[in-house]
Symmetry: C2
Subunit: 216 residues, 2 copies
């Protein structure tokens, strides 16, 4: 397999490029839908079949599954980062933090494939990992500010965000609307529990929850 | 396939019965492990293969997958009911309710197969459904008492228990110990959020979360 597609003499080069773009978009669309519904275990061969392209075409565009996942959910990862960065500009950091939890959880409720991608550590997908590291660093700063502002309880840690996002991913409903409604109620409960309150006892120890290599 | 195993003349009848018991126990053990690790989607044929028995033997003991699941997790369902009934005898219903949430969530953290079985509606498994209905009815009474005692927030509903158990099922960790520790922290947060508090705003509407036909 070479890096360049062979170019049949009958096609003009700009038409080929347009075909290639269509293929690429169709593959990404199919990948998002498939991963959302069935998780990341679906094989590259199956993605190719559903997209109506040959495996060679798929691998030419996306040499590894990591590359395909990174590309398919890159926009959502960028949105996540943007949500956290917008929250850092909120003059009320506790309000900003609550907004992050709510918006990110709703994104996950709407797309389980993204949840799987988000939770999965792909060591090869360097861009993805860098985006995530940057978002987590910004989130850590937001948490500190929300504590300093007296909104967030002092024993809350960054790992608790992972805990809550994982927990949110366990919620199943029979429609997208019900999933979002359930997530909103769940997040509202979370917000009550993580708010600083004088009468709340200490929590059990925080747990280091590594971003998983795969979600069932 | 007949209801009775064929009886080779060379074996005494009590030995056969002992073999049958061994088979039955081995099948149930394999089913619990397999369902816990891979969910309920594993086929009956695969369970038979792993248990080292023929499919005919498996189907003779457990005519349907529902029957196998009911039997495999029957003890845990009974334990769940017992937890709720013990809580109804607790003189402090809010303490009793918190204990139910914690103990049931830890049971689920220790056995994902049970979570899948618990959340799955098997219309054919009448005994299982009856046990669950009874437990849910007792739980509804406990919720009412915990509210009346001023411990539980008044806008909490039975469906929120399903919501929290589902959410707990989303938590993944790299060991059983970490899973239990994460669940304990999660439950402690839940307890803070569902406690009655004068300064807590109203929650978004409750969501009817049907017991699912399958968990991924």
């Amino acid at each position: 397999m070479t890096d360049q597609p062979s170019q049949p003499a009958l096609h003009a080069s700009h038409e080929l490029r347009s075909d290639a773009r269509d293929n690429r978009e169709r593959i990404l669309q199919v990948a998002r839908t498939t991963f959302a519904e069935e998780g990341l275990d679906v094989s590259m061969r199956e993605v190719a079949r559903r997209a109506g392209v040959g495996p060679a075409t798929l691998y030419r565009r996306f040499p590894t599954k990591e590359a395909l996942v990174t590309e398919a959910f890159g926009e959502q990862m960028t949105t996540c980062s943007a949500i956290v960065e917008a929250a850092l500009r909120d003059p009320d950091p506790w309000h900003g933090f609550r907004t992050v939890i709510e918006e990110v959880c709703v994104m996950h409720a709407l797309d389980r494939g993204f949840t799987a991608a988000f939770m999965t550590a792909f060591p090869k997908a360097v861009d993805f990992a860098e985006e995530r590291t940057r978002a987590l660093r910004a989130l850590a700063e937001l948490i500190q500010r929300a504590k300093d502002a007296g909104g967030l309880r002092r024993d809350f840690v960054l790992d608790d965000v992972i805990l809550l996002i994982m927990a949110n991913s366990g919620i199943r409903a029979t429609s997208r609307e019900a999933a979002v409604a359930a997530t909103r109620r769940f997040v509202a409960l979370q917000v009550q529990s993580i708010g600083a309150r004088p009468d709340g006892g200490p929590l059990p120890p925080a747990v280091r929850l590594p971003l998983m290599t795969g979600l069932r």
